[in-house]
Symmetry: C2
Subunit: 216 residues, 2 copies
């Protein structure tokens, strides 16, 4: 019975996701669904990205959090449209919650909408939000075994950001193992080694995301 209920939930989510995708396409807005463990650096990536691309593109943000608006408050300084979705215990966003808040944005005035999903490597990858693509972030401090142990996200991501590369010397993270496991799951996915705090490697990320926005 639970399997049938789960299938119904996913089917309803998928239908609404296609509706959201159609609407965003008609408005020429790219939506990026950013997924990672708690504390891998989603908000700091958005801070760096708004700093550099905020003058070139019209950016909007949806902040998914269980509770609090702490992440949103970190982005207020950029004067961009931000909407917070508090899931009140829910472990992922879904397409219905996204659909509801899209009314709060003036979509004609946006190029890209970043969705910071709830910090969770599992369920967010199972719920299509109507995004243009998913972006995976993983921190070196989490260990090199994450693609093998949590394959769903890494299979679906259009790009993988290996963040906190500045911590690499202080961890036992094995980059070769990480890449080997990742390549087994998603052979061609681009990987960017970055540090959102030191700035290392971010230029390649900015170039790539800019290309994606321009090609939307």
């Amino acid at each position: 019975m639970e399997i049938k209920i789960m299938k119904n939930i996913l089917d309803r989510n998928q239908n609404k996701a296609e509706e959201v995708r159609g609407l965003l396409k008609s408005k020429n807005v790219m939506m990026v669904n950013i997924i990672s463990s708690p504390g891998a650096g989603k908000t700091t990536l958005l801070e760096r990205t708004c700093e550099v691309l905020g003058s070139k593109f019209r950016i909007g943000v949806i902040e998914g959090d269980i509770t609090t608006d702490r992440d949103a408050r970190r982005l207020k300084k950029f004067n961009i449209p931000i909407v917070v979705i508090n899931t009140e215990g829910g472990c992922h966003l879904d397409s219905h919650s996204i659909s509801k808040v899209l009314d709060s944005f003036s979509l004609d005035d946006l190029d890209v909408l970043f969705v910071e999903n709830v910090g969770n490597l599992i369920c967010p990858s199972q719920f299509d939000l109507g995004e243009t693509f998913k972006l995976a972030i993983i921190s070196t401090a989490e260990g090199d075994d994450k693609p093998a142990k949590y394959p769903m996200l890494f299979r679906e991501a259009k790009a993988v950001l290996l963040n906190k590369i500045d911590l690499l010397p202080y961890t036992n993270f094995n980059k070769l193992s990480f890449l080997k496991d990742l390549r087994n799951i998603n052979g061609q996915v681009p990987v960017f080694e970055i540090s959102c705090t030191s700035g290392e490697g971010l230029k390649a990320w900015f170039k790539w995301i800019e290309e994606q926005i321009n090609a939307r």
Copy 2:
């Protein structure tokens, strides 16, 4: 409708959890439900703990993972009973899966059963497994805002391990903010600052967990 279904699932889980708790109590086995984000150090904590307490107590382990037996393989060297539960996409263990695998253990020959839950700060804290208590692990690399943003686990935990304390100098983790937020949620919970790789602070953890086992 979804709320009613969720309530049914949680009710059924709670009933089975009480059954598990009763069984373990009758066998004088303490069960610890270890919960953290992916890569916070659950398995490494178990390695260090088995090294030091393996000669004093009869330890068993249940390894919860979405897929793979990688964590279990890291513990094989201790020659202790280990059972792997692969959730196949499920984001948490539940009491039914625990109940099923308890048959694989000789409970009369155990003092403590550590359950390494699926790496996830959210759902595992909502499903009682029949454990004696929950243990929260958080790594300094995840940031100091986690208790405020993911309060459920920190409210329920009997102890909090702040792991990767060796990485503290290389992060912007603010220990005062962390403790202030944590104290707002769970005023009296003991906090152990540890590094499972350098060994720093582990003595206090060993002493505490030994006291818990002896007092069971």
